[in-house]
């Protein structure tokens, strides 16, 4: 099975370890993982701001880079959700539709497609608070959101519970948005950072050492907020834990 690895722009530039963990994790399961070197971005910053027409060339490039793979996998819920739900600035050819439908976020890919029994190489003896980003929670349906009356489930928890040593803590408002919101983070930076302060404080009060998430953008924002107000939390992408990161 050939997998195209999609490493979103800010992960490429600021969090290469998240891309590396995703690549290594997929390789551990024996997949042929290809990183198309001409990739840039999914176009979400423009689309999120309403400028859909400006996304067309970027979307076309994305489809050129990733058509022909069995799956496209990325360690970023919001980018995957964008590709799957909103990628409509270009004509919806069979190729485009196929790329969109085959693009997976790493947690759902592992949970729904790979279905591993264990991560024997992984051990993470820390107290963690799980942050489900809004895109993964309410769009990709990683877990049952607290607003709906449905049976509880959580794909990231299913995976993390297979890693030895983890102690989970639950904040008071587990589903509350952390305030990143793409361009919202700069368009409305005061509200965005206030939400971030509240989010990291909530996790700290619950006793977390680490905030773990499938969305690096949320973590980037939360880390920036925690550092500013002096909340001693660490941040790590779920792929890093599943790949055996020890701290």
């Amino acid at each position: 099975m050939r997998i195209g690895l999609f490493v979103p722009c800010y992960i490429d530039a600021f969090f290469p370890e998240v891309g590396i963990a995703t690549l290594e994790l997929l390789e551990r399961f024996g997949y042929d993982v290809v990183y198309p070197r001409a990739q840039t971005c999914c176009g979400q910053p423009m689309a999120n701001s309403g400028f859909n027409a400006d996304c067309a060339d970027t979307e076309a490039l994305f489809v050129r880079n990733f058509s022909g793979f069995d799956y496209i996998v990325a360690p970023s819920g919001s980018c995957v959700q964008h590709v799957r739900d909103n990628f409509d600035a270009i004509e919806q050819t069979d190729d485009v539709k196929r790329v969109r439908a085959r693009t997976f976020e790493i947690v759902e890919f592992l949970h729904d497609i790979v279905k591993p029994d264990a991560f024997p190489w992984a051990r993470f003896p820390h107290r963690i608070g799980l942050h489900n980003s809004c895109g993964t929670l309410r769009r990709l349906k990683h877990a049952a959101p607290s607003e709906l009356r449905e049976a509880p489930f959580s794909k990231p928890m299913d995976l993390l519970s297979k890693v030895a040593g983890i102690e989970f803590v639950v904040p008071a408002r587990p589903d509350e948005c952390c305030g990143f919101g793409g361009t919202f983070s700069v368009f409305e930076e005061v509200v965005s950072t206030k939400m971030g302060y509240d989010k990291v404080s909530d996790h700290a009060r619950a006793g977390a050492e680490y905030i773990v998430s499938a969305d690096t953008s949320c973590l980037m924002h939360q880390q920036g907020c925690a550092e500013r107000i002096g909340v001693p939390l660490k941040f790590i992408h779920i792929a890093q834990i599943l790949n055996g990161a020890s701290a």
Binding site: C9, D12, A13, F14, F15, P16, E17, G19, I20, L23, V34, Y35, P36, R37, A38, Q39, T40, C41, G43, P45, M46, N48, S49, G50, F51, D54, D57, T58, L61, N86, C134, R138, R139, P145, S146, E147, L148, R149, E150, C177, F180, G181, T183, F184, S185, V186, F187, E188, E189, V190, V191, S192, T193, K194, M195, Q223, G224, C225, E227, R228
Partner: protein, 512 residues
């Protein structure tokens, strides 16, 4: 009024909390169950968005001022989050909750797609009940029609219950200019009226105020003790001041939560019984009803009544669910059916389902942006998530920024009892406003440049060749406003030694 006659003098003692609890539990209904929070110092109430005619409202600016008042922000966030949690508990008590939502949505969609038929049916049946029915195309029409009715009756004072529609119509300002005194009978709305401020929430209009703010308003307007902010004292004082005005009023006005086509009746839900006072004390009752409020049959009402207060305040039902069928003996009842942009909205392919809204406010209570901004920061009749998708239909330019005051987190859509896809409509409004050129040029230019860069891999690679360089230049296509808005209140990410791209080149270079 500090020493005047009061109905319940025992409630006047500010610190005698035992008297409040004496007969057992504190009242636990609706807003009364929200946690009382005592302010330690007097923090001035932050005011709402600055409105300059037709210029785009700067919600972010007003929200920043709200956050700069931490006691207000904290109280507001916690009070509304408390309502959200109560709503969740109600939801868990109803196994068929999701079915109810689906049903409510389907009834509304059916009615809206047959709206002309149901409105005519409603009109016919209401007339048969002896009610006068008027049609208002817009706000000006509405205000003129009501004014004419009042003039015909020689009415100089009007008591009214809370109605978002009359807020939409600028009704109080119109009546003030016409020399007719309007008295709000809902406690929260009366507070807002006395403070000359718009409601900040569709259900709890003064939720952004601390009780010390209310004490200040009442001291200034109805003569209470400025240092006494005991909520029972304040509520009782308002009652003492308002009740005589209610008893002496010439006419009464209500809105409606639902209008039933098959019976020609309408239903008003309140927790204070003030709609009943407004409707029943004077002989003349005028009801202003938005045309989207109609539902086909009485049996449909049950679906909405089960959802409304559970979603709004987390209580099983409002204290009063009052049905109005026709005029009392010797009285007169008028219904004004108001369009005010609704027909036009019904024709908007991506946005017509916003008309399903039953004004419960659940989307506001759950919205993390609203909770930290205050409803007045939106500078519009409707605030919070529902406001973001309705307000631009009234004025695309003035409210062109509002759809950007959202993280698109989607909690609003999940709590909506009629399943409006609110966050998807917020996203669609962003596209729509860009199409209508209601976005600043600088943003437009930045987005075009970003689109160019991101579609040309070589140029893109050059731009982020190293993480340090990326840090300096990446904001260009993330941040359009030229300011380093990221770093004002949070740290920027720590640049790594190399990008993933160059790591991959070194470690998996043979593979492409």
């Amino acid at each position: 009024m500090s020493n005047g006659k009061v109905l319940h003098p025992e409630l006047l003692a500010p610190d005698d909390r035992d008297s409040i609890y004496r007969r057992g539990r504190r009242l636990d209904h609706a807003g009364g169950a929200s946690q009382p929070l005592r302010a330690s110092t007097l923090e001035k109430q932050p005011r709402g968005a600055k409105v300059h005619g037709n210029r785009p409202i700067d919600q972010a600016e007003a929200a920043a001022r709200f956050i700069a008042a931490p006691e207000h922000e904290k109280m507001h966030d916690e009070r509304l989050w408390d309502l959200r949690q109560k709503r969740d508990r109600q939801m868990h008590g109803i196994p068929e909750w999701e079915e109810l939502r689906a049903l409510a949505s389907a009834i509304k969609e059916h009615t809206l797609t047959h709206l002309d038929d149901y409105l005519e049916e409603f009109e016919t049946n209401a007339r048969a009940n002896g009610t006068h029915v008027h049609w208002a195309r817009d706000a000006a029409d509405h205000n003129r029609i009501v004014h004419d009715i009042l003039r015909d009756h020689g009415a100089r004072t009007l008591i009214k219950s809370k109605s978002m529609l009359t807020e939409e119509c600028g009704f109080r300002a119109y009546m003030a200019a016409a020399g007719i005194e309007v008295i709000e009978t809902d406690l929260g709305e009366r507070i807002q009226q006395l403070d000359n401020e718009d409601p900040s929430h569709v259900v709890v209009p003064a939720v952004h105020k601390l009780r010390t703010d209310v004490a200040e308003v009442f001291a200034r307007t109805i003569g209470t003790d400025p240092d006494n902010s005991d909520v029972h004292y304040l509520a009782e004082s308002e009652r003492e001041s308002n009740r005589p005005l209610i008893l002496a009023a010439d006419a009464g006005m209500t809105g409606a939560n639902f209008a039933v086509a098959e019976t020609g009746t309408f239903v008003v839900c309140t927790n204070e019984g003030n709609a009943d006072l407004s409707a029943n004390v004077p002989k003349l009752h005028i009801a202003s009803i938005g045309i989207e409020k109609v539902i086909p049959h009485l049996e449909h009402l049950a679906v909405f009544v089960r959802l409304l207060s559970r979603s709004a305040l987390g209580s099983p039902i409002t204290q009063y669910t009052s049905h109005f069928r026709g005029p009392r003996e010797g009285g007169e009842m008028h219904i004004v059916l108001v369009d005010n942009g609704r027909s036009e909205r019904l024709g908007l392919e991506e946005f017509w389902t916003s008309l399903k809204c039953i004004r419960c406010g659940a989307c506001m209570n759950t919205c993390p942006v609203y909770r930290r901004s205050g409803g007045l920061s939106y500078g519009a009749t409707y605030s919070g998530p529902i406001g973001l998708i309705i307000d631009p239909t009234f004025n695309a330019r003035k409210y062109s920024n509002l759809p950007f005051s959202s993280t698109l987190n989607g909690s609003c859509s999940n709590v909506c009892p009629v399943k409006i896809n609110i966050h998807e409509q917020i996203y669609a409004w962003r596209r729509e406003l860009v199409k209508q050129h209601e976005t600043p040029f600088v943003k437009k230019a930045a987005m075009k440049a970003a689109g160019e860069l991101l579609s040309h891999p070589a140029a893109y690679r050059a731009a982020i060749a190293t993480a340090d360089f990326a840090l300096a230049h990446l904001p260009r296509f993330v941040i359009y406003n030229g300011l380093n808005a990221w770093g004002k209140h949070r740290e920027v990410p720590h640049p790594p030694k190399q990008t993933f791209h160059s790591w991959h080149q070194s470690n998996r270079g043979e593979k492409t």
